[in-house]
Symmetry: C2
Subunit: 376 residues, 2 copies
Amino acid sequence: MRSRAAVAFGAGAPLEVTEVELDGPKAGEVLVEIRATGICHTDAYTLSGADPEGLFPAILGHEGAGVVVEVGPGVTALRPGDHVIPLYTPECRECPSCLSRKTNLCTAIRATQGRGVMPDGTSRFRTLDGVPILHYMGCSTFSNYTVLPEIAVAKVRPDAPFDKICYIGCGVTTGVGAVLNTARVEVGAKAIVFGLGGIGLNVIQGLRLAGADMIIGVDINPARKAWGERFGMTHFVNPAEVGGELVAHLVNLTRTPFDQIGGADYTFDCTGNVEVMRAALESCHRGWGVSVVIGVAPAGAEIRTRPFQLVTGRVWKGTAFGGARGRTDVPKIVDWYMDGKIEIDPMITHVLPLERINEGFELMHRGESIRAVVAY
Amino acid sequence: MRSRAAVAFGAGAPLEVTEVELDGPKAGEVLVEIRATGICHTDAYTLSGADPEGLFPAILGHEGAGVVVEVGPGVTALRPGDHVIPLYTPECRECPSCLSRKTNLCTAIRATQGRGVMPDGTSRFRTLDGVPILHYMGCSTFSNYTVLPEIAVAKVRPDAPFDKICYIGCGVTTGVGAVLNTARVEVGAKAIVFGLGGIGLNVIQGLRLAGADMIIGVDINPARKAWGERFGMTHFVNPAEVGGELVAHLVNLTRTPFDQIGGADYTFDCTGNVEVMRAALESCHRGWGVSVVIGVAPAGAEIRTRPFQLVTGRVWKGTAFGGARGRTDVPKIVDWYMDGKIEIDPMITHVLPLERINEGFELMHRGESIRAVVAY
């Protein structure tokens, strides 16, 4: 069949909106009509050419929502008409990782997904001239229709709006999940969020949901202060305004008359900057502070610190897809959105047709959007 | 009163065994007759001059056991005759750290302890000429008699032998506690221990106690293979024999037919070498492996890794005094020793009189001792 898609033909070039050929679902696969997709920094990272694992030509996009159109042989968990969210982190429930009960990082199709193909080793996409086009993160939501492995699809309630819940396919789940699944923040905690973009704001609303007392947002963009406050931030710190002593400033901010040590119970890096990751760790409270790396660092960049930071009780960890199991947890987050426990609508700052998808990237690069969504 | 002591008059010089003057206990303090003390790498680190926080002249030693001789005004938890272990990590049960229920790193007397004095800001030790001598880690067990804050003393059962349980004052608790308190290793786990010295062997017996399935020891000293096996090690790896691909070798060793990802559930650095700390982290299993830093690194040394290691689920943490609360947990570890749940006797390879304490340091530097103990 044919599908409209924004194709990345090469690193650094704008996406090209065109028709592509798409094969139907093979065994264990489903065909999904994507109704909406977010534009995320990870798409931009790969498109820029900075991602050493980036492959071209490919159809990017990994934050979508849509409807199952057709299922391949052997598919049992889904049927045509189901409303779904594609999962770049699948959940097979059978691999060592899924069965460990300790991680969401299912490894069932990791190798082929990394090579831009379906589990059988081939792509479903090609140009009208027959040149194969690769899948991206197993999702390729920048195509109106896409094929996904059954284990990489979360079935969600049918009354949720596509142009909002697509954001649960990455940003919302990553941010909220980092708080609830990875850090397991408790009521009354003090937390610091570094970087108030599309992930950081979701960390903030995750902290509000978890009942944190103090939610400090850190960003060099003063316009993000109002954004953070909109979702529960209690304090804003602009590093440019604290004279280079960011860690000391943050630790001081968390001191109380009783606790003169200071430091946050939990910190979250949502920047991808390794120097910020270090500051996030070192802003943690001695004895128990936990710092969670969410941002994706440039290729080859390394985090560093004195081991004394760990020996005195700080914990350095990371999260991917917010520690969420896609098929199990994503439908719950959709419910939370529909029940008003979390917000999405105000974060969707721009909705564009596919033809204007490159504008969405520009809005993101200029820091003007929180989330730009393409509605098909 | 007078006490025999081994005094560190300066960095890099041998200890001098001499008589010193010791003031009696002030309010909240107790006088303890030290009956035995271990010699630990941390003493050697400070004595060498490499410790930027080292102060001289001082009476080193922090791994002792003895008997309370006299108590100062207001002391309620101890009385003369009590058998005790001095605690370089006190437990006041009233500070923000003790009340957090998340750390053992009591901060009640941290500032004064770091300056080598009692909580009132003064030292109890001086030379016969009246020159003040500093305390060390709040313990100074290289003196036959020493004064300690009440909160820095664990009362233990009276039938336990001093020349064995002194080791619980640091090495045993640090190693066993890292497994039980910090890593919380579960039955069936796979673990790797880097460095099979006085700490590493205790990590190994902690892993045996916790029911780990696979206990891999790593050391460049082949003589340590037999030592590791003595306490429960199931596999030995000499980095010199695996061709520079230590991490890959270790990950491979932990693979199973079902789990082809590989990596340890828990790893422990007992070397203080920051490159080893990195290898320990990167030998952890994707998704959930936890690496615990125990060793003390040289001043200024930094650990580093790609943040991808954390984002894909590995956790980097550290431990001090094995995460043990001194007054609460140390008496239990003494019970475990007396009940045969853990071993100490074979690790005490040398017992020396105070006059030969410098020989104990030499044995340690040459890798000939696991633990040399001074018996008064």
